[in-house]
């Protein structure tokens, strides 16, 4: 098509630019969270995450050391405070200019001595060392404020991850929730696959009365909202003694995942070549053998795509866990629930929120990028024919 229509360079440019914009629009929200999870709480509140990616020109507002504690008597009623404006911390940035008032920002160069009037002077060097001199009245009470125009390089830390994942004193940590989520997800992914594979084979390759109706029922159940299942099933679980717990949530996820599993697998199995199956039958293979030796290995792509769906869905689920798993003790909380809790209790602590959220997002993202091929294939099998 390109060859026939030809393409003006300007069209190609417009196309590329619009796709870049689209991609940026989709990437930016996640990127913001990702970047924020590597910044300290102070950094996050001091500037937007987008400015942290580049060496930033910032105006830092710092006070000199408390004069009442630190001043040195020079005699003749003169006092002096000496020190480093950045304290003990290593200042990674570069000082461009400074001043002692927000109305005269950037007026003094590093190394200048500024006259504050009535004999009070302030000297600030590029390395942050300063000398503040004046009489008894001037060098007392509140310390002198200094406004420094500085260029600071990007500065990131792993401290948040350390705190969220490994700090044992952190009662809101994600480590336990992470393992709980994993405990929910793995059986809830494996068990429905097995049940569905047998059912899908029966629906695809075995002939029996009622098959068409069963397929229609599965298609219908695909869209039944699981909201309907909450109360009846919770009562049922309570009645038979499962109550709230892992077993309940595994069963629930199995039940809710089955229609999609059967549907996907049946669609795939129907497409397998008829010859292979009939040859095997002629050679005397039983249905059970055909299923385990031929169909299952051939259906690997479909099994993989359903496994990814079910994994993502159970990992990211909140509602089913809230209803069937998490009891008053809070011992079985999952990551999604933990994040919702954090949103309530630590709504402003973005370093904690961002890191916790990213911990829960990281695993599905890794699975997504590693197995994207199967995910796409599964989506297509489920929707387009």
């Amino acid at each position: 098509m390109d060859a026939i229509a030809g393409r003006k360079p300007i069209v190609v440019w417009a196309l590329n630019i619009s796709v870049v914009l689209l991609v940026l629009l989709w990437l930016f929200p996640t990127l913001g969270l990702f970047v924020s999870s590597f910044r300290t709480g102070d950094q996050i509140t001091a500037s937007g995450w987008w400015s942290s990616l580049f060496a930033a020109e910032q105006t830092l507002q710092i006070r000199a050391d408390d004069p009442d504690d630190n001043r040195v008597d020079l005699g003749n009623g003169r006092y002096m405070v000496e020190g480093n404006i950045f304290g003990d911390q290593d200042f990674g940035g570069e000082m461009k200019a400074w001043s002692t008032s927000s109305r005269r920002l950037g007026e003094n160069a590093p190394g200048d001595t500024f006259d504050l009037g009535d004999g009070e002077t302030f000297t600030l060097n590029a390395d942050g060392s300063y000398v503040w001199e004046g009489d008894d009245d001037q060098i007392s009470g509140r310390a002198q404020r200094v406004f420094i125009d500085a260029v600071t390089p990007p500065d990131f830390t792993l401290e948040n991850y350390n705190f969220v994942l490994f700090d044992e004193n952190n009662s809101e940590g994600m480590a336990k929730a992470f393992f709980n989520t994993l405990t929910v997800v793995i059986p809830a992914t494996i068990i429905p696959i097995l049940i569905a594979a047998f059912a899908a084979y029966a629906l695809a390759w075995m002939d029996f009365p009622g098959r068409a109706i069963l397929i229609a029922v599965v298609v219908g159940l695909l869209v039944v909202p699981l909201q309907l299942a909450l109360i009846p099933l919770l009562s049922l679980h309570n009645a038979i003694g499962i109550g709230k717990g892992y077993l309940g949530v595994w069963l629930a996820h199995t039940g809710f995942g089955l229609p999609l599993a059967i549907y996907l697998l049946r669609n795939y199995m129907v497409g397998l070549p008829r010859d292979i199956i009939e040859n095997a039958k002629v050679d005397g293979a039983t249905d059970f053998q055909i299923f385990t030796k031929i169909i299952l290995p051939l259906s690997f792509p479909a099994l993989a795509s359903f496994a990814i769906f079910q994994f993502l869905w159970t990992w990211n689920d909140l509602l089913v866990a809230l209803v069937f798993l998490i009891d008053a003790s809070g011992q079985t909380t999952v990551m999604t629930k933990q994040i919702v809790e954090l949103l309530g209790t630590r709504g402003g602590d973005w370093e904690i929120l961002a890191t916790s959220a990213f911990v829960s997002i990281a695993v599905p993202l890794a699975v997504f990028f590693a197995m994207q091929k199967y995910l796409v294939r599964g989506l297509l099998a489920g929707s387009v024919k």
């Binding site: 909202p225 109360i231 929120l353």
Partner: protein
Amino acid sequence: MHPALQGLLTIIIGVGGCVGYFYFANLLLDKVLFKPEGPNAGRNINRANMIRPWLFLLPAIIALGLYLAYPVVATLRLSFLERLPGNEFGFVGFENYSKMFGEPKFIEAMKNNVLWLVIVPAAATGFGLLAAQLTDRLSWGNIAKSIVFMPMAISFVGAAVIFKLVYEARPEDVAQIGILNHLYLVFGGAEPQQWLQIPFWNNLFLMVVLIWIQTGFAMVILSAALRGIPEETVEAAIIDGANPFQIFFKIKIPQIMSTIVVVWTTITIATLKVFDIVFAMTNGQWETQVLANYMYDKLFRANDWGMGSAAAMIIMLMVTPILVWNVYNARKEMR
């Protein structure tokens, strides 16, 4: 027992149980009940083959019946009952429904849900189609697609946190850390806005989250559909002098219409059930209530099973047309 150990045990019991069931049930059928030998060999083989499909289907039928079909009936029943003290239930007819329709919060949830249903599927399908078409012939199109598709893997709760940061508002005199307010101020906004607390518009800001997630899904499927269009139709249109817009709207769109409908309805269903986003971001405050969250409120906060079930039935009722349509199509395809 440690949950991880319990999990491992469940995998073993679950998987082993499943495999064992299928294996031994087959064995029972072939070796004990209907032996393919002796005078009745032929009849026995036929009988075994008649029973075997049901053997394969049994676990799935039990699970589907118990976890999806039974709840529909049970919820319908609960929606006509009220809970009396001492675990008793009394029949109240349509009272739960009439009480619900009298509640302003429910009307608000209905209105918002309709708004969600109109906007989200349309926007997600539209953006998806746009993304699919734009990336179609691009050398780095696959990378672009991956990135637009990526939110698919992110949980609604994770997305809620992501967008809370986007919408974050800080007092006017300090630096904005939410990019929306930052841009708003850069482009001449007077003061930072609490985006999630402005009635009506906050609904749109919540919808953005779901659109952001669902666009990738729409894009992937529509992109495959676009690739499936026969080249000749497009070539013929070019030779006849059609411009790119005409090709897109008059040649391509009509050919992928059935796929667009599938995408649209799939997103519609996802939208109907939306719960986590609202639960995590506003919890229905500031007039952002939706049906699923309203239902959760009734069931687990107010402990009113009758009204909660009635709300669930409303969601079911809204899904039903799509359900019927899906089943109808599936049956048509099978013939």
